[in-house]
Amino acid sequence: MTFFKKLMLSLGFLAILMPSIAHADSVESSKKMVQTLANQAIAIISKDGSSMSEQKTAFKKLLNQNFDTDKIGKFALGRYRRQATPEQLSEYTRLFDRMIVEVYTQRFQEYSGQTIDVTNGYEDKQSGDVVVNSLVKGSGSPIAVDWRVRDGKIIDVIVEGVSLSITKRDDFASTIKKGGGNIDALIAHLKK
């Protein structure tokens, strides 16, 4: 075997191995990210004597580090995004970011006094996204919470099979539809 052949062969092997190494790596790092996020979030809620606004500020930082709010916002707007003017889009993005912090802060507050344990992780074949499975354990039966990760950031949280991103998208689509297909109907609501 010539050197060139050897080189090509090893490069070929590398090419085959590389994606799986990369994916195994991203599954593990995603699991670690979710567990760290869960621990930090619970630490924020459980911290004695911190006010609601302090908690929110801490959450906002945590969310911006771990969630791709831009992707979530775009997904939630669905096909209406293409009809939006640049002004509408920037207004929507600003309001959506504010809302998502609110929603997730409240969601995490419901988990206070409970534990979040990462149980599994895998790569979704179709989308290439990583799914991190976790169990939230409190006094009752455990709640299954799945985290969808794309490009190292969370794009969806799925509680007992209910996706927050999809629920938001359906909520928004109906609001816009009721408002005669105008995104301003949604923006007006998000302003409240």
Partner: protein, 246 residues
């Protein structure tokens, strides 16, 4: 039994026959105006009766008693869970139900304590609506039922079959004690409401169209139940719905 088969056949006709379940499809809601009206009515009932009832229930009844009632009612559903697991060909689920019922009825004082769950034997709750789904029946149009809330043609048919087939309901009917059935239904409504109270408040506060939010969540939740993905079971490796940014 003959009647059951007849009803099941009718269900097939109502829900548009056999078809393939498509995951994460948009909810089919041709009756939206009517559904919204019923939804509005249910919300009023919620606000003036059920919400205050839950607040009173939480204040007056200590937590151990509340979970006792929940476990007891849950245990009463066991014959249905068992039968539906069998009808779906899920023998593991049927055995789990049998084990849970035996443990909780005998050791758990007639079902007041869920010792089985403490032993790691979690419920495999199956109803006839889910059985129909496993058999390939589509969910049909989305329905909001008065007092009972989100459903669809398939699950409503399942509900009718289940309440008809329920041995405790049949027994109560046979001895002319129908008020047992109503008492049980009332208690079940309160216990269920107590379970979803906080999440419902959260959704209501954070949605721009509460009706559409519940419709979407109900569909997703039901699909998860049909695929047995509740309570941390079957976690992992389920294909995800698309997340395309259009």
């Amino acid at each position: 039994m003959k009647q059951l088969i007849l009803i099941a056949g009718l269900v097939g006709l109502i829900t548009g026959g056999l078809g393939v379940n498509s995951a994460a499809a948009q909810v089919n809601d041709p009756l939206e105006p009517m559904n919204r009206a019923v939804f509005g009515f249910n919300n009023v009932v919620d606000e003036i009766i059920l919400d205050p009832a839950v607040v009173a229930y939480r204040a007056a009844v200590p937590k151990p008693v509340r979970s006792g009632l929940k476990n007891f009612l849950h245990n009463l559903e066991s014959p249905l869970y068992f039968a539906n697991n069998l009808l779906q060909g899920d023998f593991t689920g049927a055995m789990t139900t049998l084990k849970r019922t035996a443990i909780n009825t005998m050791v758990g004082f007639g079902g007041l304590f869920d010792f089985a769950a403490a032993e790691g034997i979690h419920p495999d709750t199956e109803d006839f609506g889910q059985t129909l789904a496993v058999w390939g029946v589509n969910d049909g149009p989305y329905l909001v039922l008065p007092l009972l809330g989100p459903s669809n043609a398939r699950d409503l048919s399942g509900l009718i079959v289940d309440s008809y087939a329920d041995p405790i309901n049949q027994y109560a009917n046979n001895i002319d004690e129908e008020e047992w059935i109503y008492a049980r239904a009332g208690a079940k409504a309160l216990v269920t409401k107590n379970e979803v109270y906080d999440i419902q408040k959260d959704l209501k506060r954070n949605s721009s169209d509460y009706y559409a939010t519940i419709r979407s969540a109900a569909k997703q939740s039901r699909d998860a139940m049909i695929n047995d993905r509740k309570n941390g079971k079957n976690q992992g490796y389920a294909p995800l719905p698309s997340f395309d940014i259009e």
